[in-house]
Amino acid sequence: MAQRVDATLLVPKAKATTRSLTSRLDRWADGLFLWPAVVILLFFSIFPLIISLYLSFTRLQFVRGGVDVIWVGLVNYRRLLLGSEQDHFLGVFAWPSALGWLVWAASAIGLLYFLRQYGAERQRTVAGWLLRTGLAIVVLAMITLMVTTMSGGGRPGTLSTTLFYVAAGIIVQYLIGLGLALLAAQQLRGRRFFRVVFLLPMMITPVGVAYMIRMMADTSKGPFAPLWRAAGLGDFSWVNSPWGARLVILIGDTWQWTPFMFIVLVAAIESQAQEPLEAAVVDGASRWQIFRHITIPAILPVSTAVILIRLIESFKLVDLPRVMTGGGPGTATESVTMHAYSAWNARDYGGSAAIAYILLILVTIASVAFVNLIRQKTTEVV
C-alpha cells in the first residue's frame, strides 16, 4: 500500500522555515507597504479635521512662552448663528418678495417630488428615508435663507452670497460650457484653435483673472472707460452697487471656469455612440429632438460629475472677491471662505474654524443631495 508522504516532510527543516517565513512575509507585504502611506494620509487628512473641530470650540490667546487654548464650548457657533456675527454670516432676514415666494414654492415642490420619487422605489429603506428627508430639510433651509435675505428688505450674509455664487455660477457656466462644446464638436474649420483658446482662462492664476476683470470693469480708468463715458455712464461704478459687484465677481468666475465645463462636455459629446444619432437622423428626428433625447441623456453622467466638482469648488471661492473688492461694498461680495480667512487674520482662530466646519457640513450635504437627486436620472438613462 502506497503511503502518501507530505512533500514538506521531504524538505530539510531549515528550508521549510525559510519558506514559511517567506510566505508569511508575502502575506504581510501588502500591509507593510500600504500602512505607512495610509498612516500618513490619515495624519494629513483626519488629524487637521479633528484639530480644527477642537479649535472651533476654543479661543486661542498668545501668551509669554506659548499659547493658551481656552475651551468656550459652542460660543463660536452661537456667535455665528445667533449672536453678533449672525448679520455677517447669515444676513438680515426680511419677509420675501412675491418672486422670492415663487422661488421658495417651486423649490419646495421640487423637493417633495424628489421624496415622492424615492417613495416609488422598490428598494427604499428607513435609513434612506431619513437621509433624504434630512437632506431635503437642509436644502430647503438654504433656499429659505437665500430667499429671505436676498429679496424684500433683507441683506445677504456671507453664506447667502456664497450660495448665490454657487447656484448662479454653476448654471451659467454649465450652459455656456455646453453651448461652446456643442459648437466645438461640429466639423468646423479652426475648431482645434478655438478649443485651445477656450481653455486659456482656466490656465491663468485666479489672482491674475481677478486683477484683469477688475481693470476691465473699471468705468473711470479701465480700457472700456471711453465706451462707458460715451454711453453716459462715466459716473457709474459697479463697486457702489452690491448686486453690480456680485455680478462682476460672477463674470470673473464664469470666465475662468467655463472652460472646465467646456473641455469635459466636449469630450462627452464626441464620445457618444454614433449609431443612435444616425438612426435618429434616418427616422427624421429634428436637431432639437436629437439633442434632447439622445445627447442630453448620453452626457448626463459626465455632466453630473463635472457639476459636482464645480459645486464643491464654488463653495470655496475666495480669490476673486478678495482681490477685486476686498469683500465690499460692505459685505456684498464676501464669501464664506473669505469670512473664515478674515476671522483667522484677526486671530479669531476658533471663529474661523467654526465657519470652516459649517462650510464643510454644507458642502457635504449639498454634494450628497445633488448626487442623490441626480443618481436616479443617471441610472434611468444608463
Binding site: 453678533s84 452690491p242 456684498a332
Partner: protein, 510 residues
C-alpha cells in the same frame, strides 16, 4: 522600465532641491534711486550672516529697505533679504512666524500699534541698551512721540522708527484760490470746499474732476480715515482723554452718541464728491488720482507731500497741507450729545474749533526677532540703525516712493533737504508746518494700542464702516454695530486688562 526606476529618484531629487532652496525673497539690490554706498565699516559684523526682513508689499517701505539693504551688504558683507506681503496679511504673517516658532524672519517692519501683541508673548528683542549705546542713531533727534509711542512699550524700547505718521488734509491751492476759499478748518468747511470744486476740470484734460478723494476700500488701509474725521468730535480735553474709549469704563466712544453719528454722516457725505469707484480705492489709488490732478481734497499721511514733487506729478507746488479739520461742536461724554466748543468743553480750541490730529498708524518701525541668534540680532539692529540714521533718513523722507515721512526734529527744522528734493521753500514750510502742528498739538489722538487692537479696528470698525458706506447699515445701525462689536471684544479679552492697557497707552508723555 528605466523611467520607472529613474522617475522616483528625479522626483525625490527635485523635492530635496526645492526643500533646500531659500524662501523666495524679492531682490535685495537697490533701485534707481540708490544712493552711493558708504565705505565699509571695519567694526561691523561680518561673515555669512543673512538678515531676513518681512514687511508689506511695496513699492513704499520695501523700496528703501531694499535700497539701503544693498548698501549695507556692500558695507558689511551681510546679506539682506526683504520679503513682502499684502498689508492686510502682514499682522497675521508676523504673528504666525513668531508664534509657531517658524522664525523665518529676523526683522519685522510693521505698524507700532501692533507691538503690544508681539511684545507681550515675548517675541521681540528688547533693544533698549543697544539704542542707548549707539551714538550714531542720534536717538534724541527723533521726535519724542515716535520715541515714546512708536518705539517703546512699558518703558522699554522694542522698535526703531523709520517713518513718522500723521494724517492730514491736502487741498489744491490753485483751486482754493480760484474758488475764493481757504484751507478747510472744520469738516463742514471740507464738505463745502469739496462740493464747490466737484465737477471742475482741475488738471486741464477736459474732464470733470472730483471734489474729494478718500481711500475707502475694505480690507485695506482705509479704516484710519473715519478716525481722522471722528476725533474732532470725540476728543477735546487733550491726549490723555483718549479718542476711542471712555477711560473710566472702557465704553466705546464709537457708538450710539451724537458726536460719532455726526462724524459718520460727514464721512459718508464726502462720498458724494468722490470718484464713482471710491469705495474700492486704497491709498495707492487715491494718491495716483491726487498726483494726476484729479482731486481737490484728500485725507492722507505725509506721503502726498513728497509724491506731489515726484516726477510726473501734475500738482507740484499746487498741493497745500493742513492739520486735520476740526469741529465747533464736541462730545459731552456724560450725556452723549454734542455741545458747543468753548474754553471748558475744548480747552485746546483754536478760534472756537477743536482740532484733534490723529497719529494714525504711528509710523513704520522695525523690530528684531528674539529667536534669531545673537550675531544676527546684532546685525539686524545695525541694519535698522543704518536706515534710521540721519544721513540716510533725511534723504529717504523726501522721496515719495519710500513711504517714509519725517520723524526727526532736524527734518522739521531744516528745509534745505526738502528744497534739494524739489519742494519750494513755501511748500516745504507749509507741509512741515502741518505735520509739526499735528505733532505739537496737546489734543493729538493716539492710535489704539491695546491688546488685539487689530480686531477692534481692522475687523469690527472696518466692516461696519464699509457696510455703512455701501448702504447696508444706516447711521444708527453702524454706531450700534461698532459699539456692540467692541464691547464684545472687550468682554472677551477682559475689561480690566483692556482698560489698563488703554490707560497706560494714554499715559505716554509727549
Amino acid at each position: 522600465m528605466i523611467h520607472k526606476f529613474v522617475l522616483p529618484w528625479l522626483v525625490i531629487g527635485a523635492w530635496l532641491l526645492s526643500a533646500c532652496a531659500p524662501a523666495a525673497p524679492i531682490a535685495d539690490t537697490g533701485g534707481e534711486a540708490a544712493a552711493e554706498a558708504p565705505a565699509a565699516d571695519a567694526a561691523a559684523p561680518a561673515g555669512d550672516i543673512t538678515i531676513d526682513v518681512l514687511t508689506f508689499t511695496g513699492p513704499q517701505i520695501a523700496e528703501p529697505l531694499q535700497r539701503r539693504g544693498a548698501e549695507y551688504v556692500e558695507m558689511h558683507g551681510v546679506q539682506v533679504n526683504v520679503t513682502v506681503v499684502p498689508f492686510s496679511d502682514l499682522y497675521q504673517k508676523i504673528l504666525t512666524d513668531l508664534s509657531t516658532g517658524t522664525n523665518a524672519f529676523d526683522v519685522y517692519v510693521f505698524a507700532p500699534q501692533w507691538m503690544v501683541d508681539y511684545v507681550e508673548p515675548g517675541y521681540l528683542a528688547d533693544i533698549t541698551d543697544w539704542v542707548a549705546a549707539d551714538a550714531d542713531l542720534q536717538w534724541d533727534d527723533i521726535a519724542p512721540f515716535f520715541r515714546d509711542f512708536s518705539a517703546s512699550y512699558k518703558g522699554r524700547t522694542y522698535t526703531i522708527p523709520l517713518d513718522g505718521d500723521f494724517q492730514m488734509v491736502y487741498y489744491r491751492t490753485d483751486v482754493a484760490e480760484q474758488l475764493g476759499l481757504s484751507a478747510p478748518q472744520t469738516w463742514d468747511d471740507y464738505l463745502a470746499f469739496a462740493e464747490a470744486a466737484n465737477g471742475q476740470d482741475m488738471n486741464g484734460d477736459g474732464e470733470a474732476d472730483y471734489g474729494s478723494c478718500i481711500a475707502k476700500k475694505r480690507k485695506a488701509q482705509s479704516y484710519w480715515m473715519i478716525t481722522s474725521v471722528a476725533s474732532a468730535y470725540l476728543q477735546s480735553q487733550g491726549t490723555g482723554q483718549g479718542g476711542f474709549f471712555d477711560t473710566e469704563s472702557m465704553k466705546p466712544l464709537y457708538g450710539n452718541n451724537d458726536a460719532f453719528k455726526k462724524a459718520l454722516e460727514v464721512y459718508k457725505a464726502t462720498t458724494a464728491f468722490g470718484p464713482p469707484d471710491e469705495l474700492n480705492l486704497d491709498v495707492g489709488d487715491t494718491r495716483g488720482l491726487w498726483t494726476s490732478g484729479r482731486c481737490a481734497l484728500t485725507i492722507d499721511w505725509g506721503d502726498i507731500g513728497t509724491l506731489a514733487i515726484a516726477e510726473g506729478s501734475k500738482v507740484n507746488d499746487l498741493t497745500g497741507a493742513v492739520i486735520l479739520p476740526g469741529s465747533r461742536e464736541v462730545l459731552d461724554q456724560a450725556t452723549g450729545t454734542l455741545v458747543a466748543c468753548d474754553d471748558t468743553t475744548c480747552p485746546h480750541h483754536v478760534d472756537g474749533v477743536n482740532h484733534a490730529p490723529f497719529a494714525a498708524f504711528g509710523g513704520w518701525s522695525g523690530a528684531i526677532n528674539v529667536a534669531s541668534d545673537e550675531a544676527t540680532q546684532k546685525a539686524a539692529f545695525d541694519y535698522l540703525a543704518y536706515v534710521n540714521e540721519p544721513a540716510q533718513s533725511n534723504v529717504d523722507v523726501t522721496i515719495g516712493a519710500t513711504g517714509f515721512n519725517p520723524y526727526r526734529i532736524s527734518q522739521f527744522n531744516d528745509t534745505a533737504v526738502w528744497e534739494e528734493a524739489g519742494m519750494s521753500k513755501e511748500a516745504a514750510d507749509n507741509y512741515l508746518g502741518a505735520i509739526k502742528a499735528s505733532l505739537d498739538s496737546p489734543n493729538m489722538v493716539l492710535d489704539l494700542r491695546i491688546p488685539n487692537n487689530q480686531q477692534y479696528q481692522g475687523e469690527v470698525l472696518d466692516l461696519a464702516i464699509s457696510q455703512y458706506l455701501a448702504g447696508e447699515l444706516d447711521t444708527e445701525g453702524t454706531a450700534q454695530a461698532i459699539e456692540e462689536g467692541w464691547e464684545e471684544l472687550t468682554d472677551q479679552f477682559g475689561r480690566d486688562v483692556q482698560l489698563a492697557a488703554y490707560q497706560a497707552t494714554l499715559g505716554v508723555e509727549k
